[in-house]
């Protein structure tokens, strides 16, 4: 398991190649990358991501450990950034490696669903006109957890 909470940017392609290289024997690699997207109509200057430093690493490791317990996985990677990110910047990624594609897909979706609602991050949109707004949690994201 590799879990990294960092302010620095990362290269998702390079990360996923490194991850895959460490998982020989796994036939299936799934990655998810989350990217800052502009708001409807444009005008997003940046996304500020706040987190709970004492808790974040542990919370992410718990989510990754639960995925490893539920599915048959060769390895799991989670990277999540905090700080001020521009539109187009990578926010986070997860990667899973498994013998079988279903395990890799489901474990990646599971981790994403839990990251959305159970990892201590909060996002604030900074707009062109100087305004800023906290991103509200979506009921859909909370509901997604009932799948698991």
């Amino acid at each position: 398991m590799q879990v990294r909470v960092q302010e620095a940017g990362f290269d998702p392609g390079a990360q996923s190649n490194d991850f895959a290289a460490g998982c020989s024997g796994a036939g299936a690699i799934v990655t998810f990358t989350g990217v800052v997207r502009d708001i409807e109509g444009g005008g997003l200057v940046a996304m500020e991501i706040e987190h709970y430093p004492g808790m974040t690493q542990t919370a992410l490791e718990k989510i990754a450990a639960e995925a490893e317990a539920r599915w048959s996985l060769a390895d799991v990677l989670v990277i999540h950034r905090y700080g001020r990110l521009k539109p187009g910047a990578q926010i986070m990624m997860v990667a899973t490696a498994a013998r079988h594609r279903r395990d890799a897909f489901e474990a990646a979706e599971y981790m994403m669903d839990y990251l959305k609602s159970r990892a201590p991050f909060w996002k604030k949109e900074i707009l062109l006109d100087g305004a800023s707004e906290w991103v509200a949690a979506k009921a859909d994201d909370e509901d997604a957890l009932t799948r698991w």
Partner: protein
């Protein structure tokens, strides 16, 4: 006991962290105590359904006892990913 605040809870209260002396038995009791202190606390805690709490960096709930707890965190629902 340390209390930490995140996101708009931090902004509304105007503090990221504070140390309080309290004999509150549960999180709910602590919230009542803080809300009685000043309007900014009352405003931040007005709707508990919009808040989450962690005790010593583990998600918990408002009924949980505070015995032995060193750090209480209040924040809005998380928006990771």
């Amino acid at each position: 006991m340390d209390i930490v605040y995140f996101a708009w809870v931090r902004e509304r209260i105007g503090l990221a962290r504070e140390e309080v002396e309290t004999s509150a038995a549960t999180v709910a009791d602590l919230v009542t105590e803080l809300s009685g202190r000043e309007e900014r606390y009352a405003a931040a805690f007005a709707d508990l359904s919009a808040l989450r709490v962690a005790l010593d960096q583990e998600l918990s709930d408002f009924d949980a006892p505070l015995v032995g707890v060193r750090e209480v965190a209040f924040f809005p629902p998380m928006t990771g990913g």
